[in-house]
Assembly symmetry: D2
Homo-oligomer: 412 residues x 4
């Protein structure tokens, strides 16, 4: 029996392995832990510029585009994308790839958009043939925007944005391409300008390794042009006023200075200290190890298409009859590990292991051990050891001999 933990105290570090908010590095927390500065003074202007410039690098936005930073959650950034570019009654094409796609659609409808919502089973990404078909059929160009979620945090499925772009191009369709990259930014290859994304929506609490509190719109020149025509009422989210202020490193209303202190530090880590290429590679490697564990347990991934598996979260189907909420409760209670819940359509059946942000091999190992022990405690019969499979991926050559331990040379 494990130690009964008191309700109010846990020794050691909590394992926060929900798929965001991700673990915030100490460096970032410490950078935020400083007195506020005058948001109209010269020191702030420097901070503002560093954040705005750094974010363009992260999004890979080109010089004619811009990144907008809002004191808001990602939900606000979704709304910002809509109210800046579209008009009530506009038709848009969206895809039911998972919970967050559903939520975004709901916002679109609240603002009076006509949503063509392509249904989905939550086990696959955006169906490119359907995109092609719909766009080709829309000869009148009634569709004003194609809106999709790059990395569905609720399912761990990555949609192929480049193929969506190609479909638009092939159909010579002028619709805007708007993409939710909340979970993919800083964890997965994404190139706003190269991929022809007009509005990319992100937030602070995932790959950027910050607490929640900032939302982002990275926009193309075409989206900026659209915003000058768009007539939805807007103020807080309005790009136009922001642009003018941002040119001087400032903001039209009081910015979340503490969050920007953190963002500057996070950008320093991602772009300079580790390097974005290495960051993405690290995420991929850890995700492969997590999936190796799931396979070894004999459990099923929610995502059916290996080409769509993602770097950020592993969504696992529990065997029929299991209640994922109860499973997660056991894991939290016994191992102080927070896992992601099943959301929406897959609530009750799917749990999610987040492995993004400021994360490494041994943190993943601890996480997978917690899941493995939790599964056993919960009564799931496992085919084999997941952690063993994960270590094999992480360490390579991890094979046990049958003889007593003997030295095997200098290693490595």
């Amino acid at each position: 029996m494990t130690t009964p933990l008191s309700p109010s105290f846990r020794a050691g570090r909590h394992f926060l392995q929900i798929p965001g908010p991700s673990n915030v590095p100490d460096r970032v927390l410490r950078a935020m832990d400083r007195p506020t500065i005058d948001h109209r003074g010269p020191e702030f202007a420097q901070l503002g510029r560093e954040c705005l410039d750094g974010m363009k690098t992260i999004f890979r936005t080109d010089d004619r585009g811009h990144v907008f930073i809002f004191p808001a959650s990602g939900t606000g950034a979704w709304e910002a994308a809509i109210v800046n570019t579209l008009n009530p009654g506009d038709r848009v094409l969206m895809f039911e790839t998972g919970h967050f796609a559903v939520l975004w659609r709901r916002i679109a409808e609240k603002f009076g958009l006509e949503v063509d919502f392509v249904p989905g089973d939550w086990r696959n990404g955006v169906a490119i043939p359907t995109v092609e078909e719909r766009l080709r059929a829309d000869t009148a160009h009634a569709i004003k925007a194609v809106m999709c979620v790059h990395l569905e945090t609720s399912t761990g499925i990555l949609s192929r944005i480049q193929d969506v772009r190609r479909a638009l191009d092939d159909a010579q369709h002028p619709a805007l391409l708007m993409v939710d990259v909340v979970s993919s930014l800083g964890t997965t290859v994404f190139r706003q300008a190269d991929w022809g994304v007009d509005v990319a929506i992100a937030a602070s609490q995932k790959g950027l390794m910050l607490p929640p509190g900032l939302g982002f719109n990275a926009v193309s020149e075409k989206a900026l042009a659209a915003s000058r025509q768009a007539r939805m009422p807007r103020s807080y989210w309005g790009w136009e006023e922001m642009l003018a202020f941002n040119a001087k490193g400032s903001f039209p209303y009081t910015p979340a200075t503490g969050m920007l202190f953190g963002l500057r530090e996070s950008l320093q880590m991602l772009l300079h200290d580790e390097g974005l290429a290495h960051v993405l590679q690290r995420h991929q490697r850890l995700a492969e190890a997590a999936r190796a564990a799931v396979g070894a347990w004999g459990l099923e991934l929610l995502g059916q298409n290996p080409a769509e598996w993602c770097n950020v979260v592993t969504a696992v189907l529990l065997p029929p009859g299991c209640d994922e909420a109860e499973f997660r409760r056991i894991v939290l209670q016994n191992f102080d590990l927070s896992l992601g819940a099943g959301l929406g359509k897959v609530a009750g059946r799917v749990f999610r292991i987040g492995h993004l942000g400021d994360f490494n091999d041994l943190m993943l190992c601890g996480t997978l051990c917690g899941v493995e022990m939790g599964l056993v405690k919960f009564g799931v019969t496992l085919r084999g050891s997941g952690i063993q499979a994960a270590m094999a991926r992480l360490g390579r050559g991890n094979e046990f001999g049958s003889r007593a331990a003997t030295p095997g040379g200098s290693g490595s």
Copy 2:
């Protein structure tokens, strides 16, 4: 000559005496400096409830009302008040008391409201007779809301909200009363329920002593009822979905957890450790001392009516011909003191001394010394010493004898 300070380094503490963001107590910064927690877990629910409940106490909201917390600046909270309660084309009554009243009006207009904007000279608060007159004249009840700023941070002038309420009552007018208490909350007496305020708008970075990043709506039952009829498109700011989530201590989208850690600590300080009555009394006393300094210098306050002077900021008119931006630059350069700029109509002529939040006697003294030395350095001829007058207010009995220093008994 003062020490030439290098552009990049200042020894000692910066004096951030803009009228908000205010100084954040170390305790609050440290409370925010901790790992994010699962916003869907039990620990968060406790945090959420403590913040929501504590904010009701700060606003003095009654049991049928509610406080909404947004990851946003105060500007967002202004917008939230509008989009939740009004309809496009609604007529509202607003008052030109200063810069922030002007900004709020602009938002109202962006959302299609018809604003009756009562002009003002920025040297007086809301003119109660005008309020009475307008409301009496509106027998058709076309005016759907009366919207005013309680404490105009740009002018340091406090409007009499209770008198506005009385005017509504006397006219038996059903308009909603919406009040910006961004700078007054936690610094000045305010009682949302008792005063019949339907929506009070606030933000984190003033009397709550937090960094910017949270906006608040404290609303009455009547406002909640109005919101159920209001048809402006809204999602992020929508009260309805928030209410359902808040009942469980959670939020419909990822909350700014770090800010809530800070808010809980701030509420602990305001409501328990110091006590709100003492907090307000402290602000009043420090404000009186600041005004005593201005009087002794022979300079003029922007506010013409002593009954409308506020606890939070002292707005000072420089003599004609002086450029306040240059004055503030000198003060910042020489004494590492940030003062508030003149905004809008009074830009160039007025500087503002913030004295709110986590602030005490000697911090005020240091601030006033910086202003006094800066005025002299800038070339303003002063009538007398302001710091001396301020100390007389702070210490009482501070009179100098003409003889050599001699002991005068055991004191106090």
Copy 3:
């Protein structure tokens, strides 16, 4: 192949699994992160008293005893124990249980003590029969002190202090009993007064979960009496002056205020939030799991006697021919895990896994995975999976079925 990590940057948390300094909880770091206070003022006196009282509870010192707190490392506290109680030329009985016993002996000799150093093989604790024999033989009571290390951090071996006490009592020998509890305090049952320990020596960076910087002497009435006769020159370490100041919550020279802020928080966690009994039980459970891993790997523990295995560190013998420094280098390089080196006599052959302080199941799992992957990478042939054995201990019932994963009831 593992990701080649850059020399200067590691994502995620470092695993500091040396057997001290241990991981410092965020709460303790944050408690230390505050401005210094006047060490002669009333607020400090309260702090001083809380620390002094709390430390008596941790040591289980009785009312006639006292705990001395020095701004120093544990090495300083060793020296303090000697210079306060003994005279040059005094004979003392010490035991070669490991590296730290050797170091302490060296200090004793530097201060002119005649050390009877009972040789040892570093694989067993203090030999009680030898203690008995030596004391019985010393009819002249030439031995002034018996000095032993409770928990040898270099070997992971726990000596039976109660048996040493019994030997003293049986021989009716008046020697002082001095015990190094640097690694056992706060991790292992220890009762200074009940066990008749005259001087217990400790430090901040192990079970107290603080950074290094404080040394402690917990002393009995008998030791205090001895100190009044002892003639070694002393000033910094002198107990007498400390006692007078401590009575008022203060110290004879500037105390390490920041460390005391941390100590107060740590005491709050150990004594109140988790409770010392649970803390010790948690350490024992994690140590058993670590040893289960070593057994499963087919590697040998340094400690030969299971009754002497400790809660804090697991010292593991590498197979002959392996270089532990190279092994640890590989582990650090590949998995960002710091392990303890082999020290002194066992340098080159033994590595040590620390599992003390602010530590939990999944941190241990991550650690053991890192060791396991490192062993494989280093080329050691393992008998089986250590992490699997550890999980079996931590989770119980962790057995894999041969069939495909199926639900197995409600679990727990």
Copy 4:
């Protein structure tokens, strides 16, 4: 009447104006607020080297000298200087310049030194003619060390170390020169090698702007040579073993890693960001302003010789009959300002204003206002306003006209 402050809560920042521990910059606190690292690993070696090298620059030690860093207070560093270089029975020359000189003498005597203690009135520094006389008279070179306090924190008096050196040279006397620079290091010109100081003793909590917890010995080649002959028992303080470890950036026993994180940041600020020359100049300027205030109040400085006034602390005589403890109590109670007590011979009559470390103009102004208001409240009749005089020094040209305030040009 001032606001009655509750015993347990003070809003705003405490003014810690004792002459050390000084205010710790946020940057330094934050640098210390991070997990401990392995003190035997490569990252630590880098940290150790940076601290050791930086301290040599601060002390201006030459290449043949060395700086030793102890986890200890300055008292420990005094002891270290003695036990490493002298033998019991050695004769040393010391000077009663104040409280800390008396305390150091007491330590010397505890270690069996024969102290020639030149009496003093605590109002003047080391009497150079006496030094010359004593050294010339000591033709047998019985005096093994001349030991003096550079900046007596208890009196604010600076002794002329270069003149002491000259006296030694003139007398061709081989005695070691040991100097306590606890308060002068980082605040006052000091050049260990150029001035021929053999052992300089310092601590972390003054000009280095750290919390207490580190003691330093900066030593010359001659002192190192002496230590190889010195026979006092020593271990913790022993230089020899330290030297060997320091060569690799490490320490013979567990170092206070957290303090070293802080020291590295402090060195960065002192040596690079502000620059040591500017640091010293800033201290001098602020000290002059503080003394201007005292003069204007009509109070007397303890130091009688202006050439010996220091940069760090202003010791003020209260008029006869006043109790400084009661005065300081009033100041702390009413203005949350901690001042330094009168120590030893001048207890009860002298209070001390600390103005060292991370300090600036407006912090000094706040401090002096608190003292001025406190003096008035305490009942001392003042000749004039001290703060006004201080501002005149800080701002220059601060003269009030008799006419109403008018602009006077562009200023500066």
